[in-house]
Symmetry: C2
Subunit: 128 residues, 2 copies
Amino acid sequence: MATLETTATVDIGYRSDGPGRLILDQIADKWSMTVLAFLDRPRRFNEILRHLEGVTHRVLTHTLRRLERSGLVARRVLTASPIRVEYSRTPLGESLREPFGHLYAWTVENLDDIRAHQLAYDERLRGQ
Amino acid sequence: MATLETTATVDIGYRSDGPGRLILDQIADKWSMTVLAFLDRPRRFNEILRHLEGVTHRVLTHTLRRLERSGLVARRVLTASPIRVEYSRTPLGESLREPFGHLYAWTVENLDDIRAHQLAYDERLRGQ
DNA sequence: CTGCATCCGAGCGGATACTG
DNA sequence: CAGTATCCGCTCGGATGCAG
């Protein structure tokens, strides 16, 4: 099973209702990957909340729930008063870093190229 | 430069307004990767339309526009009557297949695990 | 054959307030 | 401190009709 072979995989297997969707639906939302990246060690709810500029209480809750539901993040209640809750990456969440890292690296490498294309495209429109 | 090193990249660099967002915003929509996967050779608009079950006229147009804007897909008008338009992957679009392939492969490998977690989670809720 | 405009419903992210 | 509920606006995807 599967060390990569890859490139073919994309062409052969990809459907809008296949595995590709599952992972994209999971991580492509606004905050999931940011949260996952921050959980290099167990972190408490408010700790995460303060670190992520711009996220709200409610949205962070939902993001964590979804990550927990898929087994990428573990939730642990520390009985104390005031109550504390710790979130951490599971091994599964950990293992996602590598493949996502490839995508991230690709983007960094091609960032200028992409932006240039976008600018040129927008310029062409404006010109007409 | 830069064969991966990766894993660190995710943790260090990731912000909700960084490169990660750029690529996810580009490919995480419902059809982009499906289209890109299908363009193993130049294809005409209606050819793509017919191949992708469920996509509508308008949505395919927009998907292609966005891919074109970022330089992942090239658009070529064949002057004939009736008019024909061919879409094809650019080298940039081509190069995206490899990093995306890693993510795709990861999902396939962990699909059962993820689904199991989701089921268990949903079950736990139901039980209460 | 392609492309564009209009309309519409659904879902996500965000603001706010209240509870254990 | 952590979580839940309500409300709301915006964007995306989809349906349809018209035009080069």
